[in-house]
């Protein structure tokens, strides 16, 4: 089994629901975002770019690209970042020494460091009294490695896990389930009959910074609105 994601940019309406659902379900401390959505080329989200008469825009959600040749896994000096049995890149919160080499290595800027204790950061944000969010239990993978906990310790790196705690129970990641446009698909790339595999043969999919050779398992279907331009390095 090889988990992968397909994001249809033609369907994405840039509402950022995925980013918020992701944040809420995975208890990300204030300032930490596993999922981002922006309007490429534009200073402001949801604002068109280009010359007068030839304006256009599309929205690009970016989470961990789950590379098959992941620079973060290669550089981690202690093997805290690793591939699980389904090719998902995970971080062991108990192993990480916080050297942040992986953040330097990752070309997608998805890795987030806990610059302070998660609980303390949440207190400083002054949310409504008693408000808390995030899956409330620790989650360990099949090898017993701690890859999710509701309250983050300071000094470790975190990022998208493809919602390890849900996928293990046969549910799709929070971003996929919450997308109002159904722009995200999740499934097994090894199975040619899966929805994600079938989508990949149809519309000229591409991956981010493909020329770096990271071989992501997150694929994008181009938006026609942007003229079907490929999002690659010039």
């Amino acid at each position: 089994m090889k988990y992968g994601m397909v994001i249809d940019l033609e369907k994405c309406l840039g509402c950022r629901t995925c980013a918020v659902a992701c944040k809420a379900h995975n208890g990300q401390p204030p300032g930490v975002w596993w999922n981002r959505v922006f309007t490429p080329g534009s200073k402001f989200h949801q604002t068109g770019v280009g010359e007068y008469g030839r304006m256009g825009m599309y929205f690009l959600p970016v989470c961990c690209q789950m590379c098959s040749n992941a620079p973060c896994v290669k550089v981690c000096p202690v093997g805290a970042t690793y591939y699980d049995e389904n090719g998902v890149v995970l971080i062991d919160y108990e192993r990480c020494i916080g050297c942040r080499y992986c953040m330097t290595a990752c070309p997608y800027g998805v890795r987030q460091f806990n610059w302070q204790d998660g609980k303390k950061a949440t207190e400083k944000a002054h949310y409504a009294h008693g408000y808390s969010y995030g899956w409330p239990h620790k989650y360990r993978d099949k090898q017993g490695r701690l890859v999710y906990m509701p309250s983050r310790p300071k000094g470790v790196v975190e990022k998208c896990t493809f919602c390890a705690q849900y996928v293990n129970r046969g549910e799709a990641p929070a971003c996929v389930r919450s997308c109002p446009a159904n722009a995200r698909y999740f499934g097994d790339l090894d199975d040619p009959q899966s929805e994600v595999s079938r989508l990949l043969t149809q519309r000229g999919e591409f991956r981010l910074l493909e020329d770096l050779g990271t071989q992501p398992k997150v694929y994008y279907l181009p938006a026609r609105r942007s003229g079907g331009e490929r999002i690659e390095r010039i």
């Binding site: 204030p30 300032g31 930490v32 975002w33 981002r36 922006f38 490429p40 080329g41 770019v49 280009g50 010359e51 304006m55 256009g56 825009m57 599309y58 690009l60 970016v62 620079p71 550089v75 981690c76 000096p77 202690v78 093997g79 805290a80 192993r95 990480c96 020494i97 916080g98 050297c99 942040r100 080499y101 953040m103 330097t104 290595a105 990752c106 070309p107 997608y108 800027g109 890795r111 987030q112 460091f113 806990n114 610059w115 302070q116 303390k120 950061a121 400083k124 300071k154 000094g155 470790v156 790196v157 981010l208 910074l209 050779g213 942007s226 003229g227 331009e229 690659e232 390095r233 010039i234």
Partner: protein, 429 residues
Amino acid sequence: MKESKAWIVFLGLIVLAGLVAWGFQLKEGMVVTNMRNPFSWGIYIATFAFFVGIAAGGLIVSSSVYIFDLALLKPLARIAKITAFASAMGAAAMVLPDLGRADRVYNLLLHPNFRSPLVWDIIVITGYALVTLVSLYIDVLPDLFKQKSRLAFPVGGKTEDEVLEISRRLSRVAAYVGLPFAILIHTVTAWIFSTQVSRSWWNTAILPPDFISVAVASGTALVILVSLTVKGRETFQQYAGAYRTLASISGAFIIVHFFFMYNDFMLRWWWGAAHEMEPLLIALRDYTWLHLAEVVLPFAAMIMFLHPGTKNSFRGLYAASLILLAGVYAHRFLLMPSSYNSIPLSLPVPGVSGELWAYPIATGVYNPPQDIFVSFWNYVPSGVEVMVTLFPMALVLLVITLGVRYLPGCYESAVKASLKRTDEKTVSY
């Protein structure tokens, strides 16, 4: 000697202050630094790279004595090895405060990932520190033996001549083992950066050779600086030949460094692709003053090291060494901004050709009215970072001070004695 005691106490206090600052950082988290997710390595790693560089001097000087038959450098070899060992210790000490979880540093031993250049670097730097230490020990062995020190136990029961012979033979071996190690630590430290395909500023084959040239230049300058300080103005003429040789080595390698650096600039500028140009522009446009420092200071030092008027003067060499070290420190700092502030996930702007748009990165800290998502992070080290950096800095100076003070053959009286002995017995090699 009284002065040196006050100096040691002073350094001790700075080490202490740095440790207190580190304690504060451990308690509050690394939020007290000015690093953030988009700019995740700062002055700590820059200083680490600086220390690895200046550690080069030791074995280069002492190995040259044997490998390149530069016998005139021998009187400075001991000091050189002490500076090398101290700098390697400084590099090790500098990495620790950069770890978010320094309490788990043992994981490096329990679960090393041998594909990580960081693990290779830990191995070669530890190896280098050991080789330097052993080489230093071999060097001082005859003196320890003469003083009937207990530290000379491996050669107990031998005659003085035999001990001298052993020391000379093993020094040769250490020279041949040491030089490749000295080259390796700079190569591997550069690989930490140059292997990163996402960072165009570092991802070039010129980086390791450039690290070596900067290391030879700055490591040699440190040996000149410490030797001048320890041996004093009175003996300057006695060692003028050695100083001149070291100055020429340093000066020549500054030229090599400039050659490598501008080679890299040239390729970036000529092709002009946005993701290649951007890091260069950041260095020139956003960090103009630091860039001027990294160019002008080493250039001035190069002239001073090569000009007969200054390379034959105590003051000239002293100033040149200090200027070079400052310039190299600026150069090391500039490893970071051009790398982090040209965000790897930069995409074409639809409808506009040749322009790149950087996909914003979450800083990791919610601190209104500061933006959470940024595509440029104006990194300036925080007060805590500066304080913490002082700890390994003072530690290096402390180890050097204690080394030259307590090891025989560094201060002048002892040196004269050993020189005399060298003339009589070992000049034959």
